[in-house]
Each structure stands twice: as structure tokens, then as C-alpha cells.
Amino acid sequence: MSRISIGSYWMLLPILFLSLLQEAFLPINFVLLFFIVWASVSFQLADFIEKASQKIFLTAFLTGLIQDLAGDGRLGFLSLIYLLVGGFLVVYSRRFDSTRPWFLAGFIFIANLVISFLGGRPDLSGSFILAIIALMTGGFLSFFSGGGRIIKLKI
């Protein structure tokens, strides 16, 4: 396993904060949204696929662990789910641009619906709201990247 630089895992701080807010009163899974958007962007911007995917997997595992500890679910359950989400993103991102608004919206909608369904409380309205926010975030990202696809030589 490659050496882990603490500085590159800064995103766990907002994830921790969002997890606590979510368990206290926020009814929408912003952690999932944050993780997927962060993972998509960091994968698109990465120079080395292997390194980026390792970072995404470890972040996915730790994000799930934090959310499991902040909530009252089974420890390891969300780690597993986030790893699978991260895995899918990595596989998809190798062939397509995962920051595209419609992909982000659809992916987050399905991911949140599956997570809430497995947690015993299917959350259709929450998934829909997340998808809309993801759509706007994707549009925002496209706007600032000039609307064109990022073409990089992936190693």
C-alpha cells in the first residue's frame, strides 16, 4: 500500500462535520453527495489512476466508518456501501467523465435510494433533492471547466 499523506485526506473533516449534523437534525444524506462529487472531481483531475483510486477507496472506507459511528447502524455497513460506490465510480471514470451533471444526478439518486432502502427506510424525496443538488453542482463544475471534457493521459 502506498504511503498515506494526512494532508490529502482533509475532506474527512467536512465529512465528519456533515455526519454529525446529519445524525443530529439534517434529514438529507449530504455526506454521500459530498463524497461522490469529491471522488468524481479528484479522479478527473488525477494524474495517476492507481494513486487516485486508492485514495478514493480509503476515503470511502473511512467515510462509511465515520457515518456508522455517528449513527446507530451496524459498524462496517456504510463502509461497505461507500466502497462499492467508490468502486463503481472508479470503473466508470476510466471510460467516461464522471463529473457530467446527468451522471452525477442519476448516480447519487440511485446510490441514496439503495442506501436508504438497505437501511430499512426508502427515501425517495431525499434522493430526489440530492439529485437536484448534484445536477446543479455538476452544471457548476462544467461551467468552470469551460464546458469541455478534461482530456488527460491516464497512467
Binding site: 454529525l20 446529519q22 439534517l26 483510486s53 480509503l58 472506507f61 446507530d72 459498524l75 466502497l83
Partner: protein, 265 residues
């Protein structure tokens, strides 16, 4: 094509599965409880700050929260008293004495702090270690809050009456009526964001202001007040009568609730 999921992915996947299995078999409970405690404390503080923020916002909007809470408390007390009085009337002298003490007398009440309220679910800081069990009734000031639906060692999830999945068998009583007789039986559920009393037979008499009280079926404690009928819905042609019910308390600002545990030893 080479599958890009590395050894790291599989390693973390296996760790997650092991954690899940360990949790399922309660092998890692002591460690999990120790790790969760700071999260629970922080969540409680965050919720308190959020509730304070909400009350500040209401103050700015011109709502005198204190006066509102006092009035709400008095209405609540009156509703409880009315219900208790009407229940007493249907009993003989000996039973009256018992009912006058409290229908919860002899039961152990576990005090629990509210850690979080998300959607229709409340999280409290007492779990199976304190004696909480699934399906136990949770109250505040003799008014129904919900039922325990999930547990771990130091916390429990409570499904509020206002949750989408909540279904409470209830009876309807007329406050200050000639006797404590039951006006109607029905099912209290959530529909389009409102509490709705459903499955009331057309020949049963319900009206605005009637109290909605638990019937005691489906593991709910009997005679716990939930709310009052606010508006009758539907037409006489419907199979059942329906009515909109307003809960007697607002569940969002609650900080402490009581889990009704078993009989006192």
C-alpha cells in the same frame, strides 16, 4: 479489460465485512461503544445549538416562544386532566383510587436525552445497557412520543408518532363528556405530512376537539394521549370516517423523554 479495483479495494472490503460480522455477533460492542460516546455527546450539543437557533429565529420573527411554550404546556396539562377525568368516571370507586394516582404508576420510567431528530425518527442516549427494549413506549409529560424500533448498547432509535411508517391503534374520547366512554376506534397514521385518524366506522361519533388516545393494542401502552381532532375529512359516502389530528406537543424541541420500561421490581 483489466479490472482497476486493486488489492487495497479488496482488503478494505474484507475489513468492512469483518466489522459487519463482528458487530452482528456483538464481538466489537465494547470498542464501538467507546468510540461512539464522543459522537453522541457532540450530536447532543449540536442538536441543542440547533434548537436554540430555531428559538432565536422565532423570536426574531416576533413569536414570544416562552409565552407560547407556557400556553402549550397548559393546554397539554388540561388535555391530560380531561382524559384522566373521563377515564375515572367509567370505573367504580376502587378503580378510581388507582387511576387517580397515575396509569403509569408501578412502571419504571427511564430518562433519556434526545441526541437527534431526523425526519420521523428520534435518537436517544439510552440503549439496551439501561434496560431499553424494542417496542417500548416513549413519552414526555404523559403524552406519547413514539416507540423504540432500534437499539444498541448506549442509544436507541424511536419512531415518532409523526413518522411516515408509524401506525398507532387508537381510541377517541370526548373531553369533559358525560362519561369516559370511547367514542370511536381507529388507526392513527401519517398521510401527506399530516396525522390522520383513519378506519373509524361511519356510525361512530367523532368531532373536532376529541382526544386521540392509544388503545393499547400492538405493544403500545394504553391510555396515553397523542393529540386532538382538528378537522373531519371525507364524506358520508366513504367506507370509513377520517379526521386530521394535531399532536399535543411539538417533538422537535424535546430534549428529554421517558422510556416506559417494565414493572418496578
Amino acid at each position: 479489460m483489466k479490472i482497476p479495483l486493486s488489492k487495497n479495494f479488496l482488503f478494505l472490503l474484507i475489513i468492512s465485512l469483518m466489522l459487519l460480522a463482528g458487530d452482528e455477533m456483538r464481538l466489537i460492542n465494547p470498542l464501538k461503544s467507546r468510540l461512539r460516546q464522543p459522537f453522541i455527546d457532540t450530536e447532543t450539543r449540536l442538536l441543542n445549538s440547533y434548537q436554540q437557533f430555531l428559538s432565536q429565529v422565532e423570536k426574531v420573527r416576533g413569536v414570544d416562544r416562552q409565552a407560547y411554550l407556557e400556553l402549550e404546556g397548559r393546554v397539554r396539562q388540561l388535555a391530560i386532566e380531561q382524559n384522566r377525568l373521563s377515564s375515572c368516571e367509567e370505573e367504580n370507586e376502587r378503580l378510581k383510587k388507582i387511576l387517580n394516582i397515575s396509569r403509569l404508576a408501578g412502571r419504571r420510567l427511564l430518562e433519556a436525552r434526545v441526541i437527534g431528530i431526523v425526519g420521523g425518527e428520534m435518537k436517544i442516549d439510552q440503549g439496551w445497557r439501561a434496560g431499553v427494549k424494542e417496542k417500548m413506549t416513549v413519552i414526555e409529560d404523559n403524552i406519547l412520543v413514539g416507540q423504540v424500533i432500534g437499539l444498541d448498547e448506549f442509544s436507541a432509535a424511536v419512531r415518532l408518532v409523526t413518522d411516515d411508517a408509524s401506525k398507532v391503534p387508537v381510541v377517541v374520547k370526548r373531553p369533559g363528556g358525560s362519561s369516559g366512554m370511547v367514542q370511536a376506534r381507529g388507526l392513527l397514521l401519517k398521510e401527506n405530512g399530516r396525522l390522520v385518524l383513519d378506519r373509524v366506522l361511519q356510525n361512530e361519533d367523532i368531532q373536532k376537539g376529541d382526544l386521540v388516545v392509544t388503545s393499547g393494542e400492538d405493544n403500545w401502552l394504553p391510555e396515553i394521549v397523542i393529540g386532538q381532532i382538528d378537522r373531519l375529512m371525507g364524506t358520508k359516502a366513504d367506507v370509513y370516517k377520517r379526521a386530521e389530528v394535531v399532536p399535543l406537543i411539538d417533538y422537535r424541541p424535546l430534549r428529554v423523554v421517558f422510556v416506559v420500561a417494565g414493572e418496578e421490581p
